[in-house]
């Protein structure tokens, strides 16, 4: 498209600035926004290497080198948080994609447009509610005294379960809630990809006498492979970042569940808000950012090798 302005390259920077001052001005509010809210806090990561106190400020507080990180590693906290964050995200990726693909394929089989629209609207609904509502729903279902699950157990003559003090049950609960909230939304991407498959492939398969299973196995699934690979790679890139709202509203400050449910985000939030612990939380945050940055770069590099068009940059 550069043929519209063939001489762009030769113009001096000053000249370019003058020529595009209106467009620059139009970008200005956004640029100021990201400077103020995203770039200005960056020097604050120095806190991770200090013994921060309010009086001396970020750069006046005593320098302690890597001691904050040493503490995190020695206490085993960093390992627990990393393990939980990564394992939950892995489970979300694996089960999420399988379920999304299955739903998308089945939706595509459904002929009634009315039924398709209604069921899609129902599956899409959980995406719209706030994390707080998710917490309310969990309370409704799972609390010991009045929870719907225990009500059902009692009605059938069983003994109620103390779910909010059973750490082992929560990985299953959290994964289920995550799938409940994100599958409808996520399946849209796969559904759109299925709609984009060349119809003549299906006609050819039908002429060759393929059964419905063979059609899925040899036409649909292979066609979804690129979408699947790219989605998974990008989710792997953000595997160090957890869904804070979900975990916090399900678990909150319930320390008896932390061994299986505490992720980096919830731990940092607790340190900042209830313990005023800025040094350790900054150290954890910096570790997360650096690790996450490396992962995104790697994922993007791999995507680039597979298909340049899909790469982020």
């Amino acid at each position: 498209m550069s043929k519209h302005e063939p001489s762009v390259r030769q113009k001096s920077v000053m000249r370019q600035l003058m020529d595009s001052k209106v467009l620059l001005l139009m970008c200005l509010p956004a640029i100021v926004f990201f400077i103020v809210f995203n770039y200005m806090p960056l020097p604050g990561v120095w806190i991770a290497f200090t013994n921060f106190n309010y009086r001396d400020g970020i750069f006046g507080s005593p320098f302690v080198g890597f001691r904050n990180f040493e503490f995190l590693i020695k206490s085993g906290q960093l390992w627990t948080l990393t393990r939980n964050t990564i394992l939950y995200n892995l489970a979300f990726i694996v089960f999420g994609n399988i379920l999304q693909i299955a739903i998308a394929i089945m939706l595509n089989e459904i002929r009634s447009t009315f039924f398709k629209k209604i069921s899609q609207a129902a599956m899409f609904l959980p995406f719209f509610i706030s994390a707080v509502l998710v917490g309310v729903i969990a309370f409704n279902l799972l609390n010991y005294d009045t929870g719907a699950l225990n009500a059902l157990i009692k009605e059938t003559g069983g003994d109620p379960i103390k779910i909010y003090s059973t750490a082992g049950a929560w990985p299953l609960i959290i994964i289920t809630v995550h799938l409940w909230q994100s599958t409808g939304y996520g399946s849209i991407v796969y559904f759109a990809a299925i709609m984009g498959i060349d119809r003549t492939l299906y006609e050819a398969a039908a002429i060759d006498g393929a059964s419905a299973w063979q059609r899925i196995r040899y036409v649909t699934l292979p066609s979804l492979k690129p979408t699947f690979i790219i989605l998974v790679l990008f989710s792997l890139g953000s595997i160090m970042h957890g869904n804070f709202g979900l975990f916090w509203n399900l678990i909150g400050n319930n320390a008896s569940l932390f061994s299986t449910t505490d992720i980096i985000e919830t731990s940092v939030y607790r340190m900042v808000l209830s313990q005023n612990n800025f040094t350790t939380s900054t150290a954890v945050g910096l570790y997360q950012s650096l690790f996450g940055f490396a992962l995104v770069m790697t994922a993007n590099w791999i995507v680039r090798r597979i298909n340049k068009d899909y790469a982020l940059f």
């Binding site: 970008c27 719907a148 984009g196 939380s281």
Partner: protein
């Protein structure tokens, strides 16, 4: 995940229309697959709706019946007591509604204006700094200072602790929405810009008078994403507002009702009622229904725009 899914739909993103009719004669495996599909999709759709039914029915049950037999799918001993409590002393609730609606309306309008201006400028192929600025914005998703330094900077150095602006400003835009807008701008032919230039219109006029009117689907989609993030906001409120403001944003108000007994009491009756006298279980559920209500009412009309956001507007190129 939404950040990345945007680019993936690719050329095939044709939206949610029905599949083209296929000239395939059905054999038994097709019929079995169809039966499985109807059953499984119905089951999963019901699974997605179930929690909403549980909350609604709990909010319509009497407290005594909840204490006795717990929450259930159908209201036991139908009662509107919880809603009566909420609407008897609605000061807090109305205050929260006003705060949230004000933030949602202003935030969506201002955010949409800035995002569309930026998206337009970054889309203009003859804008020499478009790649630099794009990367400047995109970089914030790759590396961030983390919660603690950001919190210190905004709460202490900017002095925004206890200010609605701490919440309002931070939700105005995200890199993902700007990229989405930039992608949407591709649907405006470049010839429009050129014809504007020939007619002597300035860059801002070309944007405001020629491009924006063609961008209505994009504005609707991105506006709804913005509105949803303002409506569902509770996280920034918990960090920057806490208990410093009288009227908390709606979802944060609900968060407090659910998590602290005092907030529940203050929300309905002031401090002269004992917590134990309150129908606290049904009250919590009724509060949830009141907080989600407008979303459920608008849902049928807005749902399709989110689908558009994921498919049509998100073609990478």
């Amino acid at each position: 995940m939404t950040d990345h899914t945007a680019n993936i739909v690719g050329e095939g993103g044709v939206g949610m229309g029905p599949a083209k009719p296929r000239a395939i004669k059905l054999d038994s495996s097709d019929i079995i697959l169809q039966i499985i599909s109807y059953v499984a999709v119905t089951a999963f759709a019901l699974f997605c709706l179930l929690p909403f039914v549980l909350i609604l029915s709990a909010s319509l049950s009497s407290e005594a019946s909840i204490m006795q037999s717990g929450f259930g799918i159908f209201p036991r001993d139908f009662s509107l007591t919880a809603y009566e409590y909420i609407f008897k002393a609605p000061r807090q609730l109305i205050g929260s509604y006003v705060v949230t609606i004000t933030m949602t309306v202003c935030g969506t309008a201002i955010g949409l204006f800035i995002i569309s201006m930026t998206g337009y400028a970054l889309h203009r192929k003859d804008f020499p700094f478009r790649n630099h600025i794009s990367f400047f914005i995109y970089f914030t998703t790759l590396f961030s200072a983390g919660l603690a330094p950001t919190f210190l900077w905004i709460a202490r150095d900017l002095g925004l602790r206890g200010s609605y602006f701490a919440v309002f400003l931070q939700l105005l835009m995200t890199p993902w929405l700007i990229i989405l807008m930039k992608n949407f701008m591709r649907t405006v032919p470049y010839e429009i810009v050129e014809s504007g230039k020939v007619d002597g219109a300035g860059d801002f006029r070309i944007f405001a008078q020629l491009c924006l009117p063609m961008m209505k689907p994009a504005l609707a989609t991105i506006g709804l994403f913005l509105a949803l993030s303002y409506w569902n906001e509770w996280y920034l409120s918990s960090l920057y507002l806490g208990s410093t403001v009288e009227f908390k944003p709606l979802q944060y108000h609900l968060y407090n009702i659910i998590n602290t007994a005092n907030a529940l009491r203050n929300s309905v009756a002031g401090s002269n009622v004992s917590v134990t006298d309150l129908p606290s279980n049904s009250l919590k559920m009724a509060s949830a229904i009141v907080a989600i209500g407008p979303i459920l009412l608008l849902y049928p009309f807005i749902q399709k725009y989110f689908v558009t956001g994921l498919t049509v507007g998100a073609v990478k190129g």
